[in-house]
């Protein structure tokens, strides 16, 4: 039975520690300045209708005025959309979507036109303008090529002139493991699983706790859901 992979991120548990971002950096040997996964500082219900857009501030800076403050975090990486705009616009079908929901880039086919950048409303793609500088002088992480249907969907040092983004750790999930961000989250804020199975933990969680998608009205159909911050026991004194 083919799975339809998805992820849910619980913003009640996420405390903006950046462990997922650094783990992603490490397993994928990302160059300095490149983050496939990063953590935005925001506030609860930031996309609720009627709420003002979140102004850009430094990380960890809350919204409001002391002592009436709000703070929440939103890890952000490729949403692995069902109807991915990046896939639609790619002129050479370098960006493609697998039947199990993972949206991938074939690093051998990408011509670096960057139309996908314009198309992606989440801003989760990065581009290799030049040879990367790295935190160490040898490759770290998974450390080898991974091909699916002969397409090179992961390589430790991506070529100059191609786009790159979260791969959903395909080399791991195809091997029965979870994506690295899920495996390392110290707060246990991420769940990965089969959206196609209504009894899976992820499906149950999304249904029970009102998991929502980012920019849902755009119809991209993300495979990533977020559980909104809910503080039923919060007191204002």
């Amino acid at each position: 039975m083919l799975k339809r992979w998805g992820m849910v991120i619980d913003q009640n548990k996420c405390v903006g520690c950046w462990t997922c971002a650094v783990a992603c950096k490490s397993i994928n040997n990302e160059p300095l300045g490149v983050h496939w996964n990063r953590v935005l500082t925001t506030r609860p219900d930031e996309d609720a209708p009627g709420k003002e857009p979140v102004a850009a501030t430094a990380i960890d800076v809350p919204h409001g005025e002391f002592p009436d403050l709000e703070l929440a975090y939103q890890p952000l990486a490729c949403q692995h959309c069902t109807d991915a705009p990046c896939r639609r616009v790619c002129p050479v079908n370098a960006t493609f979507r697998r039947d199990d929901g993972m949206v991938l880039i074939d690093f051998e086919r990408c011509i670096g036109c960057r139309t996908c950048f314009a198309a992606c409303p989440y801003g989760v793609r990065t581009f290799n303008w030049q040879r990367g500088q790295y935190g160490s002088d040898f490759e770290v992480g998974y450390g080898r090529d991974y091909r699916w249907n002969d397409r090179l969907v992961f390589t430790p040092e991506r070529p100059v002139g191609v786009a790159e983004k979260c791969t959903g750790c395909v080399e791991r999930i195809d091997n029965g493991q979870e994506p690295m961000c899920v495996a390392v989250c110290p707060a246990g804020a991420r769940v990965f699983g089969d959206l196609g199975d209504p009894d899976s933990e992820i499906s149950f969680t999304i249904k029970q706790q009102g998991g929502r998608q980012l920019l849902a009205d755009l119809g991209t159909g993300p495979g990533v859901y977020y559980l909104p911050v809910s503080r039923p026991n919060k007191e204002h004194i």
């Binding site: 405390v15 783990a23 703070l71 002139g161 707060a187 919060k234």
Partner: protein, 835 residues
């Protein structure tokens, strides 16, 4: 096997590889290898993270061709050493553990031994051999000890590592004992973390009982917080500094088991943001808040009377003349038997007489009240004395002191007292105050009233784990072979020894896993003291501020490069194997001390391998091994991380037995009578309080808290962490109202100053900090080569004023009160006129 790009291009141009892509232009030739690579030769090791973060996570380390390529979370065994079912402990790691590789492979690592050739602190060194370095050290130490006395050499390990051999005090402690030197720290963390632990030795341990080793500490296993109905995180930004422990708290809340999460903090941290109740207290006034909560509990009779009568000194009568406990000898001086004379006395409400607390005909000991002892004398119970001491701390009075609304003070009391069990977890930040001891004394008193000590889901916990257990009960013997002991010289007392020769002169020092020149408070005084020394040795893997002051620098291994054992902030034994060969010419501390010891003629004490040391300290195979490690073997320890033989989750004092003089919780502390601190009535901070005349010139409290992106001064210069942390550049958190008053805009350079020193950083305006309070994250470097602050360092502002009350606890006798600090902040734009 990956094809090197140059090889690929060469073969392409030679026409031997058909890539199938008919593109022109060189850039399209820069492709990854077309041949499918084979799986690399990857080895996997399990180790523990021994850097100083109190996380003690287990790491799964991947190695390819002798190089560490990935660090991830490792799993834990599900049983204790002796095979009992333990808990299900999730694999855990944080951004720092993942980045540990960058510590090991840093291009800035100290690679070789060095000798200073320029002025001290000039950064001019020349490379020398290990043999030359060890000979120099041995010769100088012998010279200085002969001339100034053995303790004139100060061996200073600190908490940079918490592992058994390479950590604090570790092999450095053994070396200090063997050569009769003075020793900096014996795991008591006297550089700012000992205030809280000292209070445990006011109420729960007798510091003079040899069984308590000069001072003990205990705490709940952190997974026990999931059993609390209400959890107070008191000055504990756990969601940023101890992230893996957040998992259990947030899960307990999601399940509905944890009803309220309460956070006491002047800053709106990620932890405060996640709280159900946040109390932004004036920092340093916490014991007033706690007194207010105790006041409410007493007025509303929300205390556990049975618990107080049975397990505490509450009913014991106080001698009105001496204020010590009333003893039977005071009432019946004619008694001869010592034991009878010493008995504590209570008032029996039944027959209205005063009698010994353990009298067989005691019917009902009175909790409260004042009673006639004889015609002239009336004595109160200890509980009554507490009632009197707490009387002034009404919600309104507490609101004035703490700047917390009176309604909130009441609510906090309700939350704590009306929910059972209620747990309190304190961050070490609460210990960074002159009155940190009193704050914890008050917390323990409050927990006692609620009957929360020794109860799962309750208690007061600062720190917990193998370090506070008896797992290493043989460590004392290993540290003092042939009973050779060092003198104890705490980091807080070392400046006086160096500058004034008190209590004895110190002329040389060896720092290992210790960045004392930067991390100790009152940095200007510390640098002056170091400058006065004849000889300084520094072992480190970074060119730290302390290494810059050295005469001899020794390159240290990081923990991937040496064998050790870890059991610090959790109750697991984690074997730390040597995973890669030491890089460059680095050596383990064990090897370094052995080399010098050999040259000093005491090499016979340093012939054991790490495995042999572990076997000795854990007493493998010894029927007299402590219960917590009984049954352990080296094989088992190497095979996985097993839980100590303690119940899980571990709850201290579960048997309600207290190693105090009376055997009970002594919230009335006789030993503190000379300091007017026998009860926990509020006393002001030594510096950071408005009533201090200094406040007129320096009206801002200056905190220097911990950031998730560093562990003290470790991890500070790593690329992966700097690039998500403002390029490693420090900043001052300041509330916009305080900034506006001073004409400071977001991003402006500011000068932070008081009479002790100054520093400069850029300001970050944020509503997340209480007006009147500022914060600059500590741990950034202030060295010649790397500056994470524009000028100076937060410790230029802090002091070394010691609280004499703590001196009654030998192991926790002094404490650097980093946060008890006042400053002024001014804009420091170029060209501005300064009066």
């Amino acid at each position: 096997m990956r094809v090197d790009r140059r090889e690929f291009l060469a073969s392409f141009f030679a026409g031997s590889a058909a890539s199938g892509i008919g593109l022109t232009g060189l850039r399209y030739f820069e492709l990854a290898a077309v041949a499918a690579p084979s799986a690399p030769d990857e080895k996997v090791f399990r180790t523990g993270h021994s850097n100083n973060c109190d996380g003690a996570c287990g790491h799964e380390v991947r190695v390819v061709n002798g190089r560490v390529t990935f660090v991830g979370p490792a799993s834990w065994e599900k049983t204790t050493i002796d095979g009992q079912a333990a808990q299900d402990f999730s694999p855990r790691i944080c951004l720092r553990g993942i980045s540990q590789m960058q510590n090991t492979y840093s291009p800035d690592r100290i690679k070789y031994p060095y000798r200073r050739v320029g002025e001290r602190g000039s950064g001019e060194f020349e490379r020398i051999s290990w043999d030359e370095a060890a000979t120099t050290i041995a010769t100088k130490f012998q010279e200085i000890q002969a001339k100034f006395g053995k303790p004139a050499v100060w061996i200073a390990p600190y908490s940079g590592s918490l592992s058994l051999i390479e950590g604090d005090p570790g092999v450095a402690g053994r070396f200090a004992g063997v050569i009769g030197a003075s020793l900096g720290d014996g795991m008591a963390d006297n550089q700012g973390d000992s205030a809280g632990p000292s209070a445990f030795n006011y109420l729960l341990f007798d510091p003079n009982d040899p069984a308590n080793n000069g001072g003990a500490l205990d705490g709940h296993e952190y997974t026990d917080f999931a059993n609390a109905k209400v959890l107070f995180l008191w000055a504990n930004n756990l969601a940023e500094t101890a992230i893996p422990d957040w998992r259990y708290i947030s899960a307990a809340r999601a399940r509905g088991d944890l009803k309220k999460l309460v956070v006491i903090d002047p800053r709106y941290t990620p932890t405060a943001a996640a709280a159900d109740v946040w109390a932004p207290i004036r920092p340093g006034t916490d014991s007033a808040l706690i007194d207010g909560m105790i006041n409410w509990m007493i007025k509303n009779k929300h205390y556990n009377e049975d618990y107080l009568l049975k397990y505490t000194v509450a009913p014991f009568l106080i001698n009105p003349k001496t204020k010590a406990f009333l003893r039977q000898a005071d009432v019946h001086p004619e008694l001869k038997d010592d034991a009878a004379r010493a008995k504590y006395m209570v008032f029996d409400a039944d027959d209205k007489t005063v009698k010994p607390f353990d009298s067989p005909d005691l019917k009902t000991a009175s909790l409260a009240g004042t009673y006639q002892i004889d015609g002239a004398t009336a004595a109160t119970t200890a509980f009554q004395a507490l009632v009197a001491a707490i009387e002034p701390y009404t919600p309104e009075h507490v609101a004035e002191i703490t700047e917390i609304d009176a309604k909130l003070v009441v609510r906090l009391a309700e939350l704590y007292a009306e929910n059972s069990p209620a747990a309190i977890k304190c961050g070490f930040g609460l210990s960074h105050w002159y009155r940190g001891d009193l704050t914890h004394q008050a917390l323990l008193t409050m927990a006692t009233l609620a009957g929360n000590i020794g109860v799962s889901g309750g208690g007061v916990t600062i720190f917990s784990g193998g370090l506070t257990s008896n797992a290493f009960s043989n460590l004392g013997n290993w540290l003092t072979p042939d009973d050779l002991k060092p003198s104890s010289l705490m980091p807080m007392d070392a400046c006086a020894a160096m500058l004034d020769g008190k209590p004895y002169p110190v002329r040389a020092a060896w720092f290992t896993i210790d960045n004392w020149a930067q991390q100790m408070s009152d940095r200007n005084r510390v640098l002056k003291a170091l400058g006065s020394l004849d000889f300084i040795v520094v072992s480190d893997y970074n060119f730290s501020a302390t290494a810059e002051m050295a005469d001899i620098i020794l390159p240290s291994c990081t923990y991937f490069e040496k064998t050790d054992l870890l059991s610090s902030a959790n109750y697991y034994l984690q074997y730390m194997p040597k995973i890669i060969e030491p890089l460059w010419e680095s050596k383990s501390e064990l090897d370094a001390f052995a080399m010098v010891a050999n040259k000093m003629g005491v090499g016979k004490y340093f012939t054991q391998s790490p495995d042999e040391i572990i076997a000795e300290v854990l007493a493998f195979g010894d029927p007299k091994a402590p219960d917590s490690v009984k049954g352990a073997t080296l094989e088992q320890v190497k095979s996985g991380a097993y839980h100590l033989n303690v119940p899980t989750p571990y709850v201290p004092f579960a048997d309600k037995k207290f190693a105090t003089k009376s055997g009970r919780i002594e919230f009335y502390v006789e030993a503190l009578l000379p300091y007017d601190q026998e009860l926990c009535g509020y006393k002001e901070p030594i510096e950071a309080i408005p009533s201090n005349p200094l406040f007129k010139r320096f009206p801002l409290v200056f905190l220097s808290t911990h950031t998730r992106f560093r562990t003290h001064s470790q991890f500070a210069n790593l690329p992966w962490l700097k690039e998500i942390n403002n390029q490693g550049q420090g900043f001052l958190e300041i509330n916009p109202t305080d900034a506006a008053r001073r004409g400071i805009g977001d991003g402006d350079v500011v000068r932070i100053f008081n009479d002790r020193g100054s520093m400069k950083v850029r300001a970050r305006l944020t509503e997340a900090i209480k007006p009147g309070v500022t914060n600059c994250y500590q741990g950034g470097w202030a060295t010649r080569r790397v500056k994470h602050y524009l000028e100076g360092h937060p410790n230029n502002l802090t002091h070394q004023i010691a609280n004499p009350a703590q001196s009654i606890v030998p192991t926790f006798s002094s404490n650097a009160a980093y946060y008890d600090c006042l400053v002024e902040v001014e804009s420091s734009t170029e060209g501005a006129n300064h009066a």
